[in-house]
Symmetry: C2
Subunit: 382 residues, 2 copies
């Protein structure tokens, strides 16, 4: 490991790509004839193939969950606080797999990929992907890596929805599901925020009905607005107050429409930098996957019935200040698990960080993850 990387880092990592040539039938009724999944791994798969963890990403995440791509990288992967030697997902014991989901924009087949049928980017013709589709594709990734049963499938937010879906769709495909800061379905308010984000993107004149690649532009303004709005919902009112309050960037009111309050400056920066690294069509797809997720809908809206066949052990975690998926939404999941006498651990973690808390180091959060992962390790024999 290069000397300048932290000792508890997984170090330098290199993404790999797997091509899947068996057609994948999607919930929307369409079929992907073939597709790529890009993924990273940290740690070593043991001989018994019993120590594999699958990390599922959230709306704007990707496969780069830990470590560094180059020694010059300023930041590690998005969940580096939890993945590495001695960390809750301890790479001395576990083999951690993290992928970019289908429809993504970081190397897995998605709207920016070339559609073999046309020779041009899929753009808006990429099919709408559901959480269930993702889980189906992740199952194939595991099979390709020789993993028939994950020690745990782990995710926060939209990632937690994937863990939950795994436990329903492949009961013996995982021993544990970690469902963090998630919900079993979006509320009307959640959908409403997604809809404003989508309208921001789709009404941008540079969206060109999703075919912006061919015009050599991107709907920057719309994607920026979507991200700014997203950020408000990731942070709690308290966190914003603590971070920014009513602080003025220039110390006094300017009586104009330039940036005045620090919170405005923060949001504009977040919006602008997101545009450089994310694709608008992927953003649209991710919000639809969120909106559509509702596994109880096929069971007469009875979540317990949807979870009846699950065999995994569950760790469900919620954060007190998360107003996007507040603890009451996690309790719905816990109640449905208890109704089935399933094995579930649940905790509400005091935090001022809002929904973002699942990405931020917090002693109690990490202690709970560690404690649960001790058990996962024991069962994996590692």
């Amino acid at each position: 490991m290069p000397a300048n990387l932290p000792a508890d880092s997984v170090g330098l990592v290199t993404p790999r790509t797997l091509r899947f040539s068996e057609p994948l039938a999607l919930d929307c009724g369409r079929t992907l004839e073939s597709y790529d999944l890009v993924y990273e791994t940290y740690g070593e798969l043991n001989a018994a193939r019993s120590n594999a963890l699958l990390i599922c990403h959230a709306l704007s995440g990707d496969h780069h969950a830990a470590g560094y791509h180059t020694p010059q990288d300023k930041k590690p992967g998005w969940w580096d606080s939890c993945i590495g030697p001695g960390k809750p997902f301890d790479t001395r014991r576990f083999f951690v797999v993290s992928l970019n989901n289908l429809g993504g924009c970081k190397g897995s087949t998605g709207p920016v990929s070339v559609n073999p049928a046309t020779g041009k980017p899929y753009g808006p013709d990429f099919p709408i992907i559901t959480v269930r589709d993702w889980v189906r594709s992740q199952k194939r990734l595991g099979d390709a890596l020789g993993i028939t049963q994950w020690a745990a499938v782990i995710g926060g937010s939209l990632g937690g929805m994937q863990s939950l879906q795994w436990a329903m769709d492949y009961p013996d495909g995982l021993r544990h599901a970690l469902v963090i800061a998630a919900a079993s379905k979006l509320s009307a308010q959640n959908i409403a925020f997604n809809e404003v984000a989508r309208q921001a993107i789709m009404s941008d004149p540079e969206f060109h009905a999703g075919h912006y690649y061919e015009h050599n532009v991107t709907p920057r303004r719309g994607l920026m607005l979507a991200r700014m709005l997203g950020h408000i919902t990731y942070l709690s009112d308290d966190a914003m107050r603590a971070k920014f309050g009513r602080e003025l960037r220039e110390g006094k009111l300017g009586f104009g429409f330039d940036v005045e309050f620090q919170v405005e400056s923060y949001l504009r920066y977040q919006g602008q930098s997101f545009v450089e690294r994310f694709d608008a069509n992927t953003y649209l797809l991710m919000t639809k996957a969120l909106d559509y997720f509702d596994p109880a809908a096929d069971f007469d809206h009875d979540l317990a019935a949807a979870l009846k066949n699950a065999q995994a052990g569950f760790l469900v975690l919620a954060f007190t200040s998360d107003w996007r998926f507040p603890p009451v939404r996690s309790r719905e999941i816990v109640r449905a698990l208890l109704d089935n006498d399933h094995d579930v651990s649940y905790a509400e973690i005091a935090s001022h960080e809002g929904h973002d808390a699942f990405l931020i180091p917090n002693p109690r959060y990490q202690a709970l993850l560690r404690a649960y992962m001790e058990r996962v390790a024991a069962e994996a024999g590692v």
Copy 2:
């Protein structure tokens, strides 16, 4: 009164316009040489001139608070539920005055008005107006109408901020201040939502740096997004669940980006209809007036000190499900009033309607207003 109007309506009303030729010095340092204020009145001013109520409007409101402009109007004024014979602001006893604030787009001087210096609409050159500026202009309106002391100044949301400012700036200019669903300043989260709305408008290519009138266009998309976002913050999560849940307009998922969930349909409709009746530059000004409001800032952030000289009696009301200005923000006002031993009544009204509750009939809300207005009437001798 035409036969088809409700018996408890103020009936047909006609707005009037007053021109003010004395220059108005604004907080921003600029001066309006002259300006118009458009207003409506309901009821009769008594001989003692003691029975006048001033209604202050919120972000998208105007002077048309009650009654109908024509017998064909589908809807009455925005606060018709509270203003009329036998209603809480009883026009058999009170003389009610409601104006469109400076910077508005419904007849009072604002960005759509012709700038006498250029012969073109002010557009973005219209000065940023503060709550204090509004109150100053409202004082002159009262003077022009022969009202030296209002029986009460009344407002919800941004309107409540005006009542509060009145009590600070003209202690003997009113006997009572009704401060409903308001706050003594915006939180960082409140400002953040306003900033996203502003960016939506200002980044619309048809905004033309605010000079869109001259291009015969309006920043429709931006203003629509701003309004959609606003609506999410006016409703509670509960209200949205009750109103829309996850209901699908076509009964099933469409796997596309057309309207699918009822809540999407509602928001798009709200956004589209707003664009027909509101000006984008006015929207920008209103959000700035909200952001800037912070009367304690001049008193070392001590709200009690800011309210020290107030002489009015106060009725402060908050709604339990209002997450834009939640009860905790009203309690800050009440505490500052109590610290001064000022006369204050306070209630938190159980409601699922969110911030919008201040506009919606609710038995307890209306009973509290009635009870307080009995006292105001007694003191007014009516």
